[in-house]
Amino acid sequence: MTEPLLSLSAITRNYGAVQALRGIDMDVRAGEVVALLGDNGAGKSTLVKIISGGLKPTSGSIRFDGQERHFTDPSEAKAAGIETVYQDLSLCLNVDVVANFFMGREITRKVCGIPILQEKEMERVTGKAISDAGTRIPSLRTNVEHLSGGQRQAIELNRFVHFGGKLVLLDEPFAALGVEQTARGLKMIRDVAARGVGVIVITHIMAQAFQVADRIVVIRHGRVAGDIETAKTTPDHAVELITGGTLSLAGRDTAKLDHIPVQQEED
């Protein structure tokens, strides 16, 4: 069996007194879609930020693409082939859709050694990518500030599909998307994975996870509470892993958090 594309071992992360991650081990293979599930505050976004280079782990190590890596900022991770869609979006509201789509990857042409932005070309490419994905946007030249929540999320989603990479991290990418966009988004994820890209997708909707993922990893209170192939589990079981019991139980036991025995399942 070949080495996984991404391999995390014993990742921990503290924010002051808060232990957001208490030792995460997980793998992602090329072409595999992993759904990362977990309750609010479980540490999912923290994990994503650590993989994408935006946050340093307190301890633990990351192997990516056959090498041990310590990304110090997102541009390194990006250069290594990791694309990320963040939960709190990363758009510049003061510029238009095209400028956001190409952010950091502008098409230029050198004139006397000076790179000149090719606005027409960029507009064409953006228009194609957006309409291929079925997103409706009033005009590619409106500032993103004037778009609805879902339209904004769609731009980010289309961006990763267009530019690709080796590993894609999606932090609740469908939270604001409409029914149709979501369906298309799920299909895009499968298409991307079929190209051999590894995908981690975070969601709170079981239906989405079970529709798209090859494997489900559940995080609870900063630990891996379950790591199961999708085919071998059910949504109800996943929910149980997420909440650490039945639905009605949870909530009042904040004080006992640390004492809940954490289920650990290896695949």
């Binding site: 997102p74 990363s90 510029v95 400028a99 230029t108 000076i114 000149i116 932005l117």
Partner: protein, 331 residues
């Protein structure tokens, strides 16, 4: 509203500051004796030079989401260094560097280098140390001006080398070379801001620094460059000031900061960052100096000129603000 009318309207609003400039010039020409003559317009262009060049750098830093209060003092320091080295009387050392043709680029390079150093220091504290640009550059405003006083001992340098002075004396089409230099700067930097990746990144960083950081754009580098640019342009402005003054004094350029900020804001640059275009800033500078010149010609009681100037500039900024409202209302 039809799309065509909307487009004309948008165009007019986008260029409101030019409209304001023309209106103001027409009104002044009609009401103030002696205002309407070529010499006055040439004076306005010349007087706009220093603050104009300074305002380009300031606008870039502001578009990048920060601000630079030290440009005025930086210009003064560059002017003083130029005066100290290349002026022959007062505290001037009267350096001479062979043929006139090398004097101009060498002295300019030195002045710009002074600005680059100050910009680099500002950038260091803001980007590497993470201090607020306001307080860092406010401190620079103080200590750089202090440095001017310190290196000059409060005295002035005069009689700049005539090889350099030529820039301040020669005219093309009746307009001083100085003014052409500032126009050239505006053209070049307008192009850079609108058409190159650097300009695009400055705008993006000013809009959402986190987003650019996550997109792999080297936001710190862009920011630092914008501070260095602001310093360099302030240095250039100082060099031009030294040429105009034919030397330098310890208090040279005081008060320019207000004019530069007013021009930038009137020109449509948002102090919140991310929004603004340089041609508008040039119109803003011209507008400010049209007002200054009008005040010189209006024979106002001397005690009231400062109040009136402050209020007129406020009025100009006000109009620019009302533009936004108008747009919201009418579009």
């Amino acid at each position: 509203m039809t799309p065509a009318r909307r487009r004309t309207f948008e165009f007019l609003l986008d260029n409101l500051v030019w409209l304001m400039l023309i209106t103001v010039l027409v009104i002044f020409s009609l009401t103030i004796p002696h205002y309407f003559q070529f010499g006055i317009f040439a004076n306005i262009l010349e007087q706009s030079t220093y603050v104009g060049v300074m305002a380009i750098g300031l606008a870039i830093v502001i578009i990048a989401g920060h601000l630079d209060l030290s440009v005025e003092s930086t210009a003064a320091l560059a002017a003083m260094v130029t005066g100290l080295l290349f002026a022959s009387s007062g505290i001037g050392l009267g350096l001479s560097l062979g043929p006139p043709i090398v004097m101009i680029p060498v002295s300019m390079a030195i002045a710009v280098a002074v600005g680059v150093v100050i910009g680099f220091i500002n950038g260091f504290f803001v980007i590497k140390v993470g201090m607020s640009a306001f307080i860092v550059t406010l401190a620079s405003f103080i200590w750089v001006r202090g440095l001017v006083v310190a290196i000059s001992g409060g005295r002035s340098a005069q009689s700049l080398d005539s090889a350099i002075r030529i820039i301040g004396v020669e005219r093309i089409f009746g307009i001083p070379l100085l003014a052409w230099i500032s126009m050239l700067c505006f053209v070049v930097f307008s192009f850079i801001m609108a058409k190159t990746p650097f300009g695009r990144y400055v705008t993006l960083v000013g809009g959402n620094e986190t987003a650019t950081y996550r997109a792999g754009i080297a936001a710190p580098k862009i920011l630092w460059s914008s501070f260095i640019l602001a310093g360099a342009l302030a240095g250039l402005a100082g060099w031009l000031l030294a040429i105009r003054t034919s030397g330098a004094t310890a208090n040279l350029g005081t008060g320019m900061l207000f004019n530069a900020f007013a021009a930038v804001v009137i020109g449509g640059v948002s102090l919140k960052g991310g929004i603004g275009k340089l041609p508008g800033v040039y119109a803003g500078v011209l507008l400010i100096y049209s007002i200054h010149t009008a005040i010189n010609l209006m024979r106002l009681p001397a005690h009231w000129t400062q109040v009136i100037l402050g209020l007129l500039v406020l009025a100009a900024v006000l109009l620019d603000t009302l533009k936004l409202r108008l747009r919201e209302k009418l579009l």
